[in-house]
């Protein structure tokens, strides 16, 4: 992961920095936005992953607090932390061309897998496998 430190996107929820990802445990980092339609499609799958105990961190790209709040209200909220990438710099540093994209990050904060596009139900097995590998 490139080094970054994003401010909170929502009041009362911590923002996201790269150090928080290197805490010894694998994470999923989801790059998303309220204006992104496929992000709605993948919301149930993220919810399922969160229910299975996967720590999911969010990076919200070029968004507003109100829109983000409404989006999470409507589609569910699987995120532990959400960093606001309003200038899109972290998105570029990650090499992400669009939203949504999801990264499997190992306990040392290294990206081990990049999933481009929405997570559909058939991708869950692969992501869980990558997370397991990242935890070994």
């Amino acid at each position: 992961m490139p080094e970054f430190d994003l401010p909170p996107a929502l009041p009362g929820r911590p923002g996201l920095d790269s150090k928080a990802l290197a805490n010894g445990k694998p994470h999923l980092v989801n790059v998303f936005a309220s204006w992104c339609v496929p992000c709605r499609v993948e919301a149930p799958q993220l919810g399922e992953l969160a229910k299975a105990g996967v720590p999911i961190e969010g990076i919200s790209v070029r968004d507003t607090t109100e829109n983000l709040h409404a989006f999470l209200e409507e589609n569910g909220d699987p995120f532990q932390r959400i960093g606001a990438d309003d200038d899109g710099k972290v998105q570029l540093a990650l090499g992400s061309s669009g939203v949504p994209e999801t990264y499997v990050v190992d306990g040392r904060g290294r990206i081990v897998y990049q999933h481009i596009g929405e997570i559909r139900p058939e991708h869950l097995g692969l992501l869980l496998e990558k997370l397991k590998e990242a935890g070994e």
């Binding site: 936005a33 309220s34 204006w35 992104c36 339609v37 070029r62 968004d63 507003t64 829109n67 409404a70 989006f71 309003d86 200038d87 899109g88 710099k89 998105q91 570029l92 540093a93 990650l94 090499g95 061309s97 669009g98």
Partner: protein, 139 residues
């Protein structure tokens, strides 16, 4: 009346979804103060592909991600970074695809070599045609 109708129709439309915000990066829509640096940045921006509107350079595109990319380019140029280093940084993340300036690599060298080879073949063929031996001409 017509104007009223237009106005009424405008009032009836509302965006269905939240809109993507423009980048808040400082140099998405602002030029650098130093004209020499801005020219350098402009040259680079014209040869970088917008990741969203893929037929446009980031200098041309109004997509928000292009704004983020322009600011990245300008901020790094302002810090004195070499344009080619910035291009390399982007290629490292997005592949050769992000650059409109083709790089000479193990994969792309035929693109550069083939025209040269064809020119050489054409030259050899033409030379043969225009320099027939006198004995052949005499037949």
């Amino acid at each position: 009346m017509k104007q009223l109708l237009v106005l009424a129709s405008l009032l009836l439309t509302a965006p269905a979804f939240a809109q993507e915000e423009q980048s808040t990066a400082p140099y998405a829509y602002r030029q650098l103060g130093d004209p020499a640096q801005e020219t350098k940045a402009q040259d680079l921006m014209e040869s970088l592909r917008c990741l969203q509107c893929q037929g446009q350079s980031i200098a041309d595109s109004d997509a928000p991600i292009a704004g983020s990319m322009r600011s990245l380019v300008r901020e790094r140029i302002a810090k004195g970074e070499d344009p080619e280093a910035i291009r390399a940084w982007l290629i490292e993340r997005y592949g050769d695809y992000v650059s409109y300036a083709p790089q000479l690599t193990t994969l792309t060298w035929p693109l550069f070599a083939v025209p040269a080879v064809l020119m050489l073949i054409a030259f050899l063929l033409l030379r043969r045609r225009f320099t027939r031996k006198p004995s052949e001409d005499g037949q």
